[in-house]
């Protein structure tokens, strides 16, 4: 087990290293941050000063080495724009994104699983067909459009919910969270729905096909023949087996929700990491882009690991060490 974990950790480090090189070269290829950040009034002397101040006067490999030596000491550089440590900036924005992503995933499981189960057990009923048709919409409608429609209907027309922003926050574990206040929760609802729509559809479809496949299995037939109640057959024997693909996908989706909720965050002006990264890309704020992507890589690796560990408890056939 320890060896396995260590190996995974090493992999993580290598991927992060590769990522930092790619981002460094990528940002360099896109353009020059100084051209974007500098004031139009600046003269050539000021331009040279800014280039030097941001450490962009050195050759790229030297800039990278400087970055690497500092990164080893836990310093991922200072944002060009905010003049604050990039890591700190990202961590400040993380709670907002986390609560949005977790809220959306929670809704996906809470709504998607029962609907999928129903659609799988009664595939020919009208209700199931409606659910499946609805899930196609959930897949195919673009997030930004759905987000704007949600705002138009629930905020502008009906006035039930606030249109944008994060609302009041309360402090918990030293961070600011909005799900702890009523106002904050009201602000959370629309973006969470927006973000979860795709996931609900995904869970519905996965669950339905899992249920349909499992229902035909011999062990289900046997359980029925044994005279077990339909509820026990469904909720113990079928349910446990369809959970494996659902857990995998929900886990990976949680990762991508945290990393790439950019669209929802900018439509709802949600002050999370997604908005930070898109703003940073727009001004080529390299330290923030690099730090962000490295954190995301780390997060994906951890989520994958957690999914693998969860597998082994759900499915006794899966062995982590791969001893065969």
């Amino acid at each position: 087990m320890t060896v396995y974990l260590l190996r995974r950790l090493l992999q993580a480090l290598l991927v992060m290293l590769a990522m930092s090189v790619i981002v460094f070269v990528g940002v360099y290829a896109i353009g020059d941050p100084v051209e974007i950040l500098i004031s139009p009034d600046a003269d050539q002397i000021e331009r040279e000063r800014a280039i030097k101040a941001l450490g962009l006067d050195l050759p790229l490999w030297q800039q990278y080495l400087t970055f690497l030596t500092r990164a080893v000491q836990g310093d991922l550089g200072r944002s060009f724009v905010f003049n604050e440590p990039a890591l700190q900036l990202i961590l400040q924005k993380m709670p907002a994104t986390l609560e949005l992503a977790v809220g959306a995933t929670f809704m996906a499981v809470l709504i998607g699983l029962p609907l999928g189960l129903y659609a799988g057990l009664k595939p020919d009923s009208v209700g199931s067909k409606a659910i499946m048709a609805g899930s196609i919409l959930g897949f195919s409608l673009p997030t930004f459009w759905v987000g704007l429609m949600l705002i138009m209907v629930f905020a502008v027309q009906l006035g039930w919910l606030p249109s944008t922003g994060r609302g009041e926050t309360a402090e918990f574990l030293g961070l600011r969270w909005s799900f702890l206040t009523r106002d904050g929760l009201a602000h959370l609802i629309l973006p969470a729905i927006n973000l979860s729509l795709f996931k609900i559809s995904l869970v519905v479809r996965l669950t339905r096909s899992g249920v349909r496949e499992t229902m035909l299995m011999d062990y289900v037939k046997f359980a029925r023949a044994k005279g077990l109640s339909p509820a026990r057959v469904t909720y113990v024997h079928v349910f446990k087996n369809i959970l494996i693909p659902v857990v995998t996908v929900v886990g990976l989706e949680l990762g991508s929700t945290i990393a790439f909720s950019v669209v929802t965050e900018s439509v709802f002006a949600w002050p999370g990491m997604g908005k930070l990264i898109i703003d940073s890309i727009n001004v080529l704020d390299r330290p923030v882009i690099v730090a962000y992507l490295m954190i995301i890589v780390l997060m994906f690796i951890i989520i994958n690991l957690a999914v693998d560990l969860l597998y082994s408890t759900l499915d006794p056939r899966v062995r982590l060490e791969g001893k065969s």
Binding site: I30, G31, I36, D43, P162, R166
Partner: protein, 529 residues
């Protein structure tokens, strides 16, 4: 059940609205994020807007960008190279400390020394060679040569307190701890990239702002900002997208506040290459031996081919003024009577033929697609109009981070730019038109690499003229010289637009700054100046 929920939700919202209604709290949403509360860290419009709510300057600017007294009550050149500023007495910082000439001296010394600044304010203090504190309310700034622009440069410098800010880092400004000024508002909380919460400074020396508390939010997505206004979550927004203008004009719950701005949208042509320029070919796609854009007749033809009024109406939905010069009417260095180039495709074809291109040529016109309102559509329109006179135009729109780097390296042959001007003609002339020269610091934004020695000499001369009237006459002559030579092709000057809910009125500013002190309840008369 559902109706009770609705009733609850509605009453909740009403309750919220009721507490906000007595016009004590103002919620505004701006389209560009404020990145720092350190007023000397990053010279950027949104940051300057935030700074001008919290801090004050020696010389302030009014809504038409004219200089007006701020922390300095008056100023004059006591000698050709010495400017004297008489400071306002009895001004206090938010923390109660008194403002004196020492604070000005401290501020001027801090400006060039802000670590890691990506765009500093140093250019505005560089002409100052010595600062002399005469008494607590008088300060003299010595320059190497006569420098008429010093008071105008001072409109960019926000004054800090020596005792409070000495050794203070940008981070401590951003946290709100050091965001302590003499301005109309004090900072309550700053959530980076999300909002600034402000409270009125009742000790402010100028006009008292109308609102006790301000929630200054940043909503960068255009549609979301508009929706927030229509939902009543915010009272005022800036940067109203032109596509929403006609709908908002007809919405009785909203009011628009507009003014002609100082941002010129124009086209650069390549002046630097005598031989082939990279994006111009002959009609068969072969590179040309010489750069046709060096011929003034070609540049004139390209300018005449553009139907500016039509473009302002169709592409900009009327939110701009067609122009043939740098500055709008009513602004200091506007050239009286200088015409908008007449739309004349036949004349343009004749000029092209005269210049030796009766069959025209091919060109690629570049522009950004995410920087200025409708930027990509503007170059598409121009491309069509150029094609009509025989200059077959391909249009290429790029994202700003890629575009600006390539434009800076003079990689394009013709390209779109926008530039926010100062009302003084020396500003566009020095930065856009003068020959790029590192030693003089001139022409730093001259991306077309236009160069005219006679104009440069005139500019040098005017930069030392202390007689304001004579200087303006000279500047206007020089502007005329540049425009007659089609150094660049002006298209239009943008209109700055704010939208507010009924009950709120905004004083629109030419300099695009969105500030809480410019908003008042609509019933109250406009603040007298």
């Amino acid at each position: 059940m559902r109706s009770t929920f609705r009733a609850l939700a509605v009453s909740g919202l009403l309750g919220l609205a009721a507490t906000q209604a007595p016009a004590q709290t103002l919620t505004m949403a701006v389209g560009a994020p404020v990145t720092s509360l350190d007023p000397h860290y990053h010279q950027l419009s949104p940051n300057n807007a935030a700074a001008s709510m919290i801090f004050s300057r020696l010389v302030e600017t009014d809504d038409r960008a004219r200089s007006v007294p701020g922390l300095a009550e008056s100023w004059r050149a006591v000698e050709p190279t010495v400017w004297e500023f008489k400071l306002r007495a009895g001004v206090r910082f938010h923390n109660g400390r008194e403002f004196t000439a020492e604070d000005v001296a401290y501020t001027l010394a801090r400006v060039p020394n802000v670590p890691n600044s990506p765009a500093s304010f140093t250019v505005f203090v560089r002409p100052i060679v010595r600062v002399e504190v005469v008494d607590p309310l008088t300060i003299r700034l010595h320059t190497r040569t006569p420098y008429p622009l010093l008071p105008m440069d001072m409109t960019n410098i926000y004054i800090l307190d020596r005792e409070t800010h000495e050794g203070g880092s940008t981070e401590r400004f951003n946290s709100g701890e050091l965001a302590v000024g003499t301005g109309p508002f004090r900072v309550v909380r700053h959530a980076n990239g999300d909002r600034i919460e402000l409270e009125r400074n009742d000790q402010y020396f100028g006009d008292r702002p109308a609102f006790q508390r301000v929630n200054y939010r940043m909503i960068t997505n255009d549609a979301a900002r508009t929706a927030a206004l229509m939902a009543g979550d915010v009272d005022v927004i800036d940067q109203v997208p032109t596509a929403d203008l006609s709908r908002m004009r007809n919405d009785s719950r909203l009011a628009l506040y507009e003014t002609t701005g100082l941002r010129l949208i124009f086209l650069w042509t390549d002046h630097s290459r005598e031989d082939a320029t990279p994006f111009v070919t002959d009609n068969d796609g072969r590179p040309m031996a010489r750069n046709p854009l060096k011929d003034i007749r070609v540049r004139r033809a390209l300018s005449m081919a553009i139907d500016r009024p039509n473009m302002v109406g169709r592409v900009m939905e009327g939110a701009a003024t067609a122009t043939g010069q740098f500055l709008a009417e009513g602004v200091t260095s506007h050239i009286p009577g200088y015409p908008v180039p007449r739309f004349d495709p036949d004349g343009a074809r004749r000029l092209l033929a005269e210049a030796g291109f009766p069959q025209g040529f091919r060109i690629t016109l570049h522009g950004p697609n995410d920087r200025y309102p409708n930027d990509a559509r503007i170059i598409q329109a121009v491309g069509q109009m150029w094609t009509r006179i025989g200059v077959r135009t391909t249009v290429e729109a790029l994202t700003w981070p890629t575009y600006i780097g390539r434009a800076g390296r003079a990689e394009f042959s013709s390209f779109l730019m926008g530039w926010g001007m100062n009302p003084d003609g020396s500003h566009p002339l020095r930065n856009l038109i003068a020959c790029p020269n590192r030693d003089t610091g001139l022409g730093a934004s001259n991306r077309g690499r236009y160069c005219n020695a006679e104009l440069d000499r005139g500019l040098e001369e005017s930069s030392q003229m202390l007689d304001e009237e004579a200087r303006q006459t000279r500047l206007i002559e020089l502007e005329r010289m540049a425009l007659d030579d089609v150094a660049l092709i002006p298209l239009h000057i943008q209109t700055n637009i704010w939208a507010a809910r009924r009950g709120f009125a905004v004083t629109p500013r030419a300099d695009e700054l969105t500030r809480a002190q410019d908003v008042r309840p609509a019933s109250a008369p406009a603040a007298a100046r």
